[in-house]
Amino acid sequence: MSAGPLPVEQQLNPLSDIDFADLEKSLLRPRTLMSGLLSALVAAMTILALIPLFSVVWMLVWRGGHKLSALCFTQLPPAPLEQGGGFGNAIVGTLIIVILATLISVPVGVLSAVFLEGSDPRNKLAQAVRFAAKVLTGFPSILAGVFAYGVIVLATGGYSAIAGAIAVSILMLPTILLTAEDAIRMVPAKMKEAAIGMGATSTQVTWMVSLPTAMPGILTGVMLAIARGAGETAPLLFTALFSNYWPMRHGHLNLMQPTASLAVLIYNFAGMPFQNQVELAWAAALVLVLLVLVTNLIGQSLSNRQVQ
């Protein structure tokens, strides 16, 4: 039994025997309704998760911006019940500690990354370095402070910017090491092989090809690490401690005395029952967050440049 020739309109349009109204899903059918509701729930939860971010930023701008003035950057912290004052020494202290920490952690991190990139993945030392970096990534920041206290503060007999910087550098190291390794690994093998073909030693390849090409990626890691280090409070609490004065002695910069930092200032002033101190804590928090965010954004723009 053979089918007769199809009607003309069905030959022209093979879909004409499908009832499209039957294919349409009503949004009110339980299955689709459930799907829509869950989508709405997830959207609502995502928005809810971002509310703290906006709340923090709003409070910083409102309460911190209210207090922030040029005096904040030049004055010393006020005594209880004293009006005015600022946190100039804390800004200087944070910068000193972060710069010192960067000077310690960048060479160690980048050179370890160069070693990791150049070595066999089965190399025992390479595995150990990677393991150490992973351990440090999840390392509680307070324990870096405990370590620096045990090693530096007890040995030198006092709280100092150096001890604080060493504690912070421990926390900066894994970020720098792991991002630098990734960045160096992304350098096209062709470029390195071309250099080797010209008779370059592996040191020359590293310095003249790998590191310059990977520089944006490495700097991203450094910037992210600095952003993290600048905001760390716990490792500074009992290493750099705090000070109401400039980090100077006899007119010279002194790194071996207790040093103020923005983060510790916020912690100390937040718990005080004085209005002036609390307002200064908010202003200091605004400065600290701006510092951290700007460093973060610079790092991210660098990494975008590498992708392009």
Binding site: V42, L50, L53, S112, T203, F238
Partner: protein
């Protein structure tokens, strides 16, 4: 000599020498980072040894911390650390995974696309980029949550979260005080505000890792589910989430490690009370907060005890982090196997 021969030449002796020296230097610095970790662990362990010998295992099970009587034990702190971290993980996982699903499904991009379509500019040279940009912006905003220093979260918790939740908490205590978790009223710092702030701090970790796990699910699984007639959420719940489950779980365990070691927000919000209570509103203490509060004015005798507490914290976080890393490694191995 041809020009090629002049450009490429064997390294000189000096270059070979610096090459060897530089490579040795790299090895030395690599050893430095390994030895650093070993040194940290050993230094804390040695400093804790006298206290460990004196107080032994009872240090972990006793409940009194009295420097004047020389009695030290950290059970309340261990309890507070675990309780606050688990609470934070509960909220953080719910919201973090929801945000990860929202990001990985591309809801915002399709919403922006639909809006652009109304104005017929969805493929416009400039407007057409908005969906992708909006998606990136949302991802960066969630990552920004991780960039805010924890001491700023502490400040925000003190002056925003506590006043905000206090009336509701006290109302709950008044009406439902017989439920153990509402057993006390919130008189200021306490477990719940600490856990809320902590959950905001661990959320970016959970979202980032979960999003990676969700986007790593092979698209053909999703297509197959859609082809069988599943709705979007039937696909997510029955196919995508189970496939990505191990990766998400690894992220949650790593976030647990973060929460255990988090110091400042807790030191400011948890109340530093040496007690064990299941009430969400009562003040408590955590190991990290104990260290932060007691180290600055510690006498040499106290230091060894605090080092012992630090060693306990180190042990707990190391174990949790390693479990998380192993789970994540296996999860990525699974998906690679699935692709083949």
């Amino acid at each position: 000599m041809s020009p090629e021969a002049q450009i490429s030449q064997p390294p000189s002796r000096w270059q070979l020498l610096t090459d060897v020296a530089f490579r040795r230097l790299c090895v030395v610095f690599s050893w430095l980072s390994v030895l650093l970790v070993a040194f940290i662990v050993l230094r804390i362990a040695f400093a804790a040894a006298p206290a460990a010998a004196q107080y032994g295992f009872g240090f972990l099970t006793g409940t009194t911390w009295d420097a004047n009587k020389g009695q030290y034990a950290i059970l309340p702190e261990i309890w507070g650390t675990l309780y606050s971290s688990l609470l934070a993980l509960f909220f953080g996982t719910a919201f973090g995974v929801a945000a990860a699903v929202f990001l990985s499904e591309g809801y915002l991009a399709s919403f922006a696309f639909a809006v652009l379509k109304i104005f017929h500019v969805e493929f416009h040279r400039i407007w057409g980029k908005i969906p992708q940009q909006a998606e990136n912006l949302l991802r960066n905003l969630i990552e920004l949550l991780a960039a805010i220093p924890s001491v700023v979260y502490g400040l925000w918790g003190l002056f925003v979260v506590i006043p905000l939740i206090r009336p509701a908490c006290n109302w709950l205590h008044l009406k439902m005080g017989w439920v153990p978790i509402f057993g006390t009223d919130l008189s200021g710092p306490g477990m719940l505000p600490a856990a809320i702030v902590l959950s905001i701090m661990v959320l970016p970790t959970i979202t980032a890792i979960s999003r990676d796990a969700l986007t790593a699910v092979p698209p053909k699984l999703r297509m197959a589910a859609y082809g069988l007639g599943a709705t979007r959420w039937e696909t997510i719940l029955a196919v995508i989430l189970p496939t990505a489950a191990r990766g998400i779980f690894g992220g949650v365990v790593l976030a647990f490690g973060r929460a255990l070691g988090e110091t400042m927000a807790l030191a400011m919000l948890v109340g530093n009370a040496n007690q064990i209570s299941v009430s969400l509103f009562s003040p408590a203490n955590t190991l990290a907060a104990l260290l932060a509060n007691n180290f600055p004015e510690a006498r040499p005798k106290d230091v060894t005890v605090l080092m012992y507490a630090a060693l306990v914290l180190l042990g707990i976080t190391l174990v949790v982090n390693m479990i998380g890393a192993v789970i994540l490694q296996r999860a990525s191995g699974d998906l690679e196997g699935g692709k083949a």
